[in-house]
C-alpha cells in the first residue's frame, strides 16, 4: 500500500525525495505480489481496450526509442536492430558551433583534467544521461540532453524529417517518475509525437527472447538489476551497485596502480581520495571494454538437478580452468599504452591482473556474505536470492529462462561465471521443494542460509550472520511468504490449465540461460505485431496535465478504461493508460 501512497505523490509530479536504491522497488514489489491489493486486481482491465489492433497502425513508421544511462538507441518498428545509437558524451554539452573538442589541443594528455567539474562523480558524470538521485538532478537538463541526442540520431541515422511520428519508448522500470516526466516533456514539447507509448525494459527483453517468463539479469552501467518476469509481468526486482561504472572505476584503480609516477611515490600520493583520477574516463572505459575479462569459477556446478543447460557448462569449466592454467604458466604480460596520464607511457600488466576489476566489481569473493550491504550483494548471491524470493512456480519458470543483458554482459566469461556460481549456490543450499511445499522450505530458509553462509565463509561467525540476514530479508520475507502460500494454492490449477493447452511441457526447474534479441528489438517486435503499446500517452493530454493527468491505478474503474479510446474519453483514456504507466514508474 505504501507503494500506492508514494505513487500518489509521484503522480503529483513533484520530485520524490530520493530513496536508497535498496528500497526503491520493494513497495512496488509488495504491491505487486500482495494479492490483497485491489489495484492490481483492477489493472488488467485497460488491456481489453488496448488489445484492439487499431491502437497502432503498421503502415506509418513508428519510432522505437530505448533510453539507457549512457546511450540512446533508435530505429523503426519491425527492424531487427536499431538504426542509430547515440552515446551521451561531454561534447554534447557544448554550445552549437563550439568545435573545440576537435582542436588537437584538447587531445593533449592532461586536458581532460581541466574539464574537471565539481561534485559527485565528475569523472564519469558527463557520459551519463541521468543519475537516479532526484534531488541532485537538473531535470530540464536531462530533457535537453535527450532532445539533442535524439535530434542527432534523427538527422544522422534515421534520416527522417520532423513530421510527427508515434514513438515507443523503452525505459528501465526503475526510472524515477520525475525523470520519466522530464523525458516525456522534452519528447512532447520538442518533437511533437502524437503519442508516446511506454514499455518496460524487462518485458521487452522477455518478448525478445520468445518467452513469457524470465529472470532478467541486467548488467547495466549504473547498477545491476535483476528482474523476475512472470507471464509478462514484473514480479520482483533486486539491484546491486555492482555495474559498469564500478567496473570502469576498478579498471582505473588497476591502471593507476601500475603508473610509473604512482609506483614511485606511494606515500604522498592522494590517490586514495576517490575524487582524484590519474587517467581520463574515456581511456579507462575503453580499456575496460577491450581487455578486462573474468575468471571462470573453479568448482564445477551441480549436474543432477539441472538438465541440458549444464553439460556445456561443464566443458566450459574444464576448458576455462585449462586456459587459466596455461595463462598462469605463460605469465604473459599485456602492454597497454596510456595517453591521458601526465606523461604518455606504456605500462605492462600481468594478464591475470586484468581479471581483477571484474572480480572486485561483481564478486568480491574474499569477503564473507554477511559483510555486504543490501545494495552491494555480489551478483551470484543477488541472483540466487531473487530466485529464492520468488513464488515457487514462478521460480521454476524463471530459473530456466535467465537472460543476461546490459553492457557488462560482454565482459568475457562473466555470464558463464555468474551462471556457474548461481548453480553452485543452488546445489549447496538448494531449495528442496522445487516440486512444491515451497512455503515451509522458505520459512526454514533464513536459518538454513545462515548455516550455509557461515559454513562457506569460515570467517563469518554465525551470530553475526543470521541477524543481518534477517534484517535484510524481513521485507521480502513478508513478500514471499504469502506469495509462496498463494502460489502453493494456485499451482495445481495452473499446471492443469497448461496441460490442457500446451502440447509440449514447458522447460522449468533447471538452470538455463536464454538469449534475447535485446530490449530494443523486443520493443520493435511488440510494436510490429500491433500488440498493445502497453501504455499510450496522447500529446495533448500530457501537455495539459503532465504527470498529474495520470490517475492512480485504483482510480481507474472499468468504465473509463473501456471507453478510453472512444470519443471524448481521451483524457480519461490517457489517464487510464498513464495509470498503468506511472503504475510502474510512479511507484518508486
Amino acid at each position: 500500500m505504501s507503494g500506492l501512497g508514494s505513487g500518489a505523490v509521484a503522480a503529483g509530479s513533484t520530485p520524490l525525495p530520493h530513496r536508497s536504491v535498496a528500497n526503491i522497488r520493494s513497495p512496488h514489489t509488495s504491491s505487486n505480489v500482495n494479492p490483497s491489493t485491489p489495484a492490481s486486481s483492477s489493472r488488467p482491465l485497460p488491456s481489453s481496450s488496448f488489445g484492439s489492433p487499431s491502437s497502432l497502425r503498421a503502415d506509418e513508421d513508428i519510432l522505437i526509442l530505448e533510453l539507457g544511462t549512457r546511450k540512446l538507441q533508435i530505429g523503426f518498428a519491425g527492424d531487427a536492430c536499431p538504426r542509430g545509437t547515440v552515446w551521451f558524451t561531454p561534447s554534447q554539452l557544448r554550445r552549437v558551433g563550439d568545435f573545440r573538442d576537435w582542436s588537437s589541443e584538447s587531445k593533449t594528455n592532461v586536458d581532460w583534467k581541466t574539464k574537471k567539474v565539481t561534485g559527485e562523480r565528475w569523472w564519469s558524470r558527463d557520459h551519463e544521461l541521468w543519475e537516479y538521485d532526484v534531488r541532485e538532478a537538473d531535470l530540464g537538463l536531462i530533457g535537453d540532453k535527450v532532445e539533442r541526442a535524439l535530434r542527432e540520431a534523427l538527422t544522422r541515422y534515421m534520416l527522417i524529417d520532423s513530421r510527427p511520428r508515434r514513438m515507443v519508448c523503452v525505459l528501465p522500470s526503475g526510472l524515477p517518475l520525475p525523470m520519466l516526466s522530464a523525458v516525456l516533456d522534452s519528447l512532447f514539447s520538442r518533437l511533437q509525437p502524437p503519442t508516446v507509448s511506454l514499455l518496460s525494459l524487462p518485458v521487452a527483453l522477455t518478448v525478445g527472447a520468445g518467452v513469457r517468463s524470465s529472470l532478467i539479469v541486467d548488467l547495466g552501467w549504473r547498477e545491476t538489476v535483476i528482474t523476475s518476469v512472470c507471464e509478462f509481468r514484473e514480479v520482483n526486482t533486486s539491484r546491486s551497485v555492482r555495474g559498469g561504472r564500478l567496473l570502469v572505476e576498478q579498471t582505473h584503480k588497476l591502471l593507476a596502480k601500475h603508473l610509473p609516477e604512482n609506483q614511485k611515490k606511494k606515500a604522498d600520493n592522494t590517490s586514495d581520495n576517490a575524487e582524484d583520477y590519474d587517467l581520463s574516463f574515456e581511456e579507462c572505459n575503453d580499456i575496460a571494454t577491450r581487455m578486462v575479462w573474468c575468471k571462470p569459477h573453479l568448482s564445477s556446478p551441480a549436474a543432477p538437478k539441472s538438465g541440458k543447460g549444464l553439460p556445456t557448462l561443464h566443458e566450459q569449466d574444464e576448458s576455462d580452468v585449462a586456459a587459466a592454467g596455461s595463462s598462469t604458466e605463460a605469465l604473459k604480460t599485456v602492454r597497454i599504452p596510456l595517453r591521458s596520464c601526465r606523461s604518455p607511457t606504456t605500462i605492462e600488466l600481468p594478464w591475470e591482473a586484468l581479471a581483477e576489476p571484474s572480480e572486485n566489481t561483481f564478486f568480491d569473493s574474499q569477503y564473507t556474505e554477511s559483510s555486504f550491504d543490501d545494495h552491494e550483494l555480489p551478483l551470484p548471491l543477488l541472483v540466487y536470492r531473487s530466485l529464492l524470493h520468488l513464488p515457487l512456480d514462478v521460480r521454476a519458470l524463471c530459473m530456466s529462462r535467465i537472460i543476461f543483458t546490459g553492457g557488462c554482459a560482454s565482459v568475457l566469461g562473466l555470464r558463464g561465471r555468474i551462471f556457474g556460481e548461481v548453480s553452485k549456490l543452488i546445489e549447496e543450499r538448494g531449495w528442496d521443494g522445487v516440486q512444491g511445499k515451497g512455503a515451509d522450505q522458505m520459512r526454514a530458509n533464513p536459518k538454513l542460509r545462515g548455516k550455509k553462509g557461515s559454513r562457506q565463509a569460515s570467517s563469518g561467525p554465525k551470530g553475526v550472520t543470521s541477524p543481518s540476514e534477517a534484517v535484510e530479508n524481513r521485507e521480502q520475507d513478508g513478500v514471499w511468504h504469502d506469495a509462496a502460500n498463494t502460489t502453493h494454492d494456485v499451482c495445481p490449477v495452473e499446471e492443469q490449465l497448461k496441460r490442457g493447452q500446451d502440447t509440449r511441457p514447458r522447460v522449468q526447474g533447471r538452470m538455463r540461460a536464454i538469449e534475447s534479441v535485446g530490449a530494443w528489438s523486443g520493443a520493435s517486435l511488440i510494436a510490429h505485431l500491433k500488440a498493445a503499446p502497453v501504455s499510450t500517452i496522447e500529446r495533448e493530454a500530457w501537455l495539459q496535465y503532465g504527470a498529474a493527468g495520470a490517475s492512480k491505478p485504483s482510480e481507474v474503474d472499468q468504465k473509463s478504461a473501456r471507453q478510453s479510446l472512444g470519443p471524448g474519453g481521451l483524457i480519461r483514456g490517457s489517464a487510464a493508460s498513464n495509470s498503468w504507466t506511472l503504475g510502474v514508474w510512479g511507484m518508486n
Binding site: 582542436s103 588537437s104 589541443e105 587531445k107 599504452p337 595517453r339 604518455p344
Partner: protein, 192 residues
C-alpha cells in the same frame, strides 16, 4: 587561431658549407639548403626537392638510395639536447620525407622504405623501423623506437601494416623518382 606547431620553418641561415659525398645519379634542386660542418652523404638516385634543408652541424647525415626528401623538410635540426654526435641522421633506402617534416639530429635512424608524413616531427635519437608509415603530423618523441611495419596515425595511435606491399611501394618510389629527375633541374655542382 593557434598557428604554433609544425609551422616554424627553418631560418635560411647561410651557414658553413658542409663537405658532401654525392652519388653521380642523385637529383638535388638548386634551392636545396645544405649547411653544417660534418659530411653529408646522398646515395644513388635519391631526390632532394627545392627548399629542403639538411643541417650537418650536429653530426654526419647519410641518405640512402632512392630516397625522396620533399620541400621544406628539416633534416638534422639540432635537437633539444644540443649535443653533437658521430652521426646526426641516417635515412635507409627508399625513405620518403614529406613536406615540412623535421628530423632532429642525434643518431636518429629512419629504416628502409619508411615514409615520414607531412609535417611530422622525429625527436633526436629516435629509431624508426623499416617500412613504417608516419601519417601527417605524427610526432615521435626523442629516443623512441618504432618497430618495423608500424603505422602511426591519429595522434599517436599505432598499428601494424599487414599489406605486405613493401617492394611494390619501393617500385612505386622508383617510378616517382624517374619522373622527378625530369622535373627538378639538378645542380649538385653548387654544393660540391
Amino acid at each position: 587561431m593557434s598557428s604554433k606547431r609544425h609551422s616554424i620553418l627553418p631560418a635560411v641561415s647561410a651557414g658553413p658549407k658542409p663537405p658532401v659525398h654525392f652519388s653521380s645519379s642523385i637529383t638535388i634542386a638548386d634551392s636545396a639548403l645544405l649547411t653544417g660542418t660534418n659530411l653529408i652523404t646522398i646515395s644513388s638516385e635519391s631526390v632532394i626537392h627545392p627548399r629542403a634543408k639538411l643541417d650537418s652541424l650536429a653530426g654526419r647525415i647519410t641518405i640512402g638510395r632512392r630516397c625522396v626528401v620533399h620541400e621544406r623538410t628539416m633534416i638534422g635540426a639540432i635537437g633539444t639536447s644540443g649535443k653533437v654526435t658521430e652521426t646526426a641522421v641516417t635515412l635507409g633506402d627508399y625513405v620518403t620525407v614529406e613536406v615540412a617534416a623535421s628530423i632532429e639530429a642525434g643518431n636518429t635512424i629512419i629504416g628502409e622504405g619508411t615514409t615520414v608524413g607531412v609535417g611530422s616531427k622525429i625527436g633526436a635519437g629516435a629509431v624508426i623501423g623499416k617500412h613504417c608509415t608516419l601519417t601527417p603530423h605524427t610526432e615521435i618523441p626523442a629516443g623512441e623506437v618504432i618497430p618495423d611495419f608500424t603505422v602511426m596515425y591519429s595522434n599517436g595511435m599505432r598499428r601494424v601494416d599487414k599489406r605486405g606491399v613493401a617492394d611494390l611501394k619501393n617500385k612505386g618510389q622508383a617510378r616517382q623518382i624517374d619522373v622527378l629527375r625530369r622535373m627538378i633541374p639538378s645542380n649538385p655542382a653548387k654544393f660540391t
